[in-house]
């Protein structure tokens, strides 16, 4: 009998319409890093949420050090020594680090007052022991994303967690910070902890994990020794077929300048200089990849480009015309299309049907409406065509409520809608976030197609692989301006990483 610290046996979990976990069994050895590999939507997060007490399994059992346990809520999970660093941080933005860490487990002075000082002292000690470098009195909204993640780690350590679950931890980190995180994980192992790492990134599994359990569509495919398995094999287990990692791309000469940004300054919602004196050009017939760590101004840049946020100064010229202060609709009409970062918030009106969503920007133009009255037939025909062309699957076709489609199909619909505008410049922000491999391949193909037709694509993504794979040129954004423009064929990932990390000045590594 191996020395298993956690075993999840025959776990089944159903949600309305979907079997998230189908008789899954996994085992974690003490002192190891076990990677849980699977595509988006495979069921890994659900499984770990069950372990952490956020969900209750429909059937199956959990054993801790051989003993069967019940975990009805996160409190019990904490007491049993299980902690989780969530993909979407669970932090209160206007509380301090200390308040966030002690929430739910507040130390008391005289029985009723929260003793923040004592807590802060303990936090500072833990931070030092594990090399986390966190200021207990900082407010969450003032610290970097990397530091916020370390606060999440501290939350677990404060509760004496033995088993730490990391849910897609590197999505928001620079290459340097990823290296740091791995060092922290090795520290944790050194102190006797055991780690489960949920991820879909093969490179990281190879770098740090001991064993890897692959999950596909809710079922366990197998568990492998990472040192004995190559990336291609793991990818094949994850997707169920051989996967090509790079997109077919013929070399192409870029054309004239379609987008010319000069000296742009944009304030963020919190009044910081998100975009600072930024200059950039995008040409016809190219994909320009904008690489950078989340929070370096990409969001504000795209908003200023598309008209969703006002620029303080500087200029944006599209095909020679100044659109710096043009309203959103005017920009759409002059040839910019936008695949938004957040498909459910910006991209779709979830309560509208697909056909209404697909004319969301053009309902006012003939043939979709005349003199203020909508032409349903034209709208429906348009939707049917788009959904067919872009392989969007929905139960009731164009009448289906957008809400009822899967993430992949929603995104394909949005991509189709925006490409259908035949834009001169397509701004694609995180176009494949949260999608399965099939959808990702499809969308990449269509983006390259745009470029092959002589159009321009501005690709903004946090996934460096995607940028390296698709871009003709790479611009690195850091601290609100462009740190440099690189050729993907001749630059290495760590060079890009260094440029991205140029924004990390003042933060100890």
């Amino acid at each position: 009998m191996d020395d298993y610290i956690v075993e999840m046996l025959n776990i089944t979990k159903r949600f309305p319409g979907i079997l998230a976990n189908d008789d899954i069994s996994i085992q974690l050895r003490k002192g190891e890093i076990l990677a849980l590999l699977g595509e988006n939507g495979a069921g890994k997060s659900t499984l770990m949420s069950i372990l952490f007490g956020l969900y209750k399994a429909d059937s199956g059992s959990i054993r801790l050090k051989g003993r069967e346990v019940h975990i009805p809520n996160p409190n019990v999970a904490n007491e049993l020594g299980i902690g989780m660093v969530h993909q979407h941080f669970k932090l209160v933005h206007n509380f301090t680090v200390t308040e966030n860490i002690v929430l739910g487990l507040e130390p008391r002075k005289a029985g009723i007052v929260v003793d923040l000082k004592r807590a802060a002292e303990r936090i500072a000690r833990l931070s030092e022991t594990y090399g986390l470098n966190v200021d207990p009195w900082a407010r969450i909204e003032d610290i970097t994303v990397g530091m916020q993640q370390r606060v999440e780690i501290l939350k677990m350590l404060y509760r004496d967690a033995e088993v730490l679950i990391f849910d897609e931890p590197t999505a928001v980190l620079t290459p340097q910070e990823i290296v740091d995180l791995m060092a922290i994980m090795r520290n944790l192992l050194g102190e006797g902890k055991s780690i489960i790492l949920i991820t879909h990134k093969l490179k990281e599994i190879k770098a740090i994990a001991d064993r890897c359990t692959v999950i596909r569509r809710g079922k366990v495919i197998g568990t492998v020794q990472v040192s004995e398995t190559d990336e291609a094999r793991m990818a094949e287990m994850m997707v169920g077929r051989a996967v090509s990692f790079s997109v077919e791309k013929a070399p192409r000469e870029p054309g004239g300048v379609v987008l010319d940004i000069e000296g742009l300054n944009v304030l963020s919602a919190r009044k910081t200089h998100a975009v600072a004196d930024l200059s950039l050009q995008v040409r016809y017939g190219e994909i320009l990849g904008l690489a950078g760590v989340d929070g370096n101004g990409q969001t504000e840049l795209v908003e200023a480009l598309t008209g969703l946020r006002k620029a303080q100064s500087g200029s944006i010229r599209l095909k020679g015309a100044d659109i710096t202060n043009a309203p959103v609709r005017a920009r759409i009409r002059s040839g910019i299309a936008h695949i938004p970062e957040d498909r459910q918030r910006r991209g779709l009106v979830l309560d509208y049907s697909m056909e209404d969503n697909l004319v969301l920007e053009i309902y006012g133009l003939p043939p979709y409406s005349r003199r203020g009255f909508l032409d349903r037939k034209a709208i429906r025909a348009h939707a049917d065509k788009l959904m067919g062309d872009f392989d969007v699957r929905a139960g009731e076709g164009s009448l289906a409520a957008a809400r009822s489609l899967s993430g992949g199909n929603q995104q394909k619909a949005i991509v189709g809608r925006e490409i259908d505008h035949d834009p001169d410049l397509l701004v694609a922000v995180q176009p494949t976030r949260g999608l399965d491999v099939g959808s990702i391949e499809y969308i990449h193909k269509r983006l390259v197609e745009q470029r092959d037709r002589g159009k321009a694509v501005l690709l903004v993504s946090l996934e460096l692989d995607e940028i390296m794979d698709l871009s003709d040129r790479i611009a690195v954004i850091s601290h609100g301006s462009i740190a440099g423009v690189l050729d993907p064929k001749s630059v290495t990932e760590s060079e890009i990483g260094l440029m991205m990390a140029g924004s990390r000045k003042g933060e100890a590594q």
Binding site: K90, V92, L103, I112
Partner: protein, 315 residues
């Protein structure tokens, strides 16, 4: 001029206190994540229950009946707010609509019951708190006449509640958890806090305080239940926004509104004010509220999760 201010001040203070109580109630509710626009109706309920309790108990208990009346007012507000709590928290109802329903039910139901009791729909009481001067402190120059003359005991009670609220909200675990539920309930949930229970507490506290506010109106300056509190519940909401969801801010805001409303009420007896057309004075508090909301619009940021339905099933 000074004389006028000194004479008006105690009235302004008395008028502000129910507003303060209701607004504090709104604070607890919204900070926990539940918008409660039913404060108006809850005040009416408290007002009614207080009136009925006092008139029933007055013969046997005399002055003591007032305190029991106030307690009953708070309890009835608490009980009534359960309706809003169940609707908003368990049944995922739209909080604004649920609050509106509370307002409508309260006004209809209380007048209905009042009619069965008195026939006219109004309940008049002959007993109330008598304003008094605080010994020693009322002699202090300037502050004395302003703050310590002609005060009601409820004023001091409510100020004490204000301080208690500040303490609870910022110094106790309950307060920390409450604020977390209003900003990011997912975080509180993952930390093991029972979001539903905390939000219930927030709404019930708001009910109790609003009920108490309604009772206070009755025993200080009104003396009669007549089916309405003239929009004070909504003014309390405006004060909440104006006061930036902080106890001390609310104190300032409610006092400001109280003063504005009092100016209108006492205009008859103050020569300077009597020359201003009645409509200007009466509409003044409401217009001022609108202007204040506009002026403070840029900097207002309520609890982030207030008004959003929280579904524990959605992680």
């Amino acid at each position: 001029m000074w004389d006028m201010v000194a004479r008006i001040f105690p009235y302004a203070v008395a008028y502000s206190m129910p507003l303060l109580a209701a607004s504090l109630g709104g604070l607890f509710s919204e900070r926990s994540g539940v918008v409660n626009i039913g404060l108006e109706g809850l005040m009416v309920v408290g007002n009614f229950v207080c009136a009925v309790t006092i008139s029933k108990l007055q013969p046997s208990l005399g002055q003591g009946a007032i305190w029991i009346g106030l307690a009953a007012a708070a309890l009835s507000g608490l009980a009534f707010s359960l309706l809003h709590a169940v609707a908003s928290i368990n049944l995922s109802a739209n909080q604004v609509i649920s609050g509106t329903a509370i307002n409508m039910v309260s006004t209809a139901l209380t007048v209905f019951l009042a009619r069965t009791i008195t026939g006219s729909g109004n309940v008049h009481i002959t007993l109330g708190f008598v304003p008094f001067d605080v010994p020693v402190l009322s002699g202090i120059p300037i502050l004395g006449p302003l703050l310590f003359t002609k005060t009601y005991v409820t004023t001091w009670l409510l100020l004490a509640i204000l301080l208690l609220s500040w303490f609870v909200l910022y110094k106790t675990p309950f307060g920390l958890r409450l604020r977390a539920c209003g900003e990011h309930p997912q975080t509180a949930d993952a930390a093991g806090v029972n979001v539903y229970r905390i939000r219930y507490a927030g709404v019930l506290i708001s009910g109790a305080l609003a009920g108490l506010a309604g009772g206070t109106i009755l025993v200080t300056f009104s003396g009669e239940f007549n089916g309405t509190v003239a929009g004070l519940g909504f003014l309390a909401l405006a004060a909440l926004i104006f006061g930036k969801w902080k106890p001390l801010g609310i104190l300032g805001a409610t006092f400001f509104f109280g003063f504005a409303a009092t100016l209108a009420n006492v205009s008859q007896v103050v020569p300077l004010l009597a020359r201003i057309p009645g409509i200007v004075l009466k509409a003044f508090p409401y217009v001022v509220t609108l202007l204040a909301l506009v002026a403070f619009s840029k900097t207002t940021q309520g609890p982030r999760a207030a008004g959003e339905i929280y579904d524990a099933g959605k992680r």
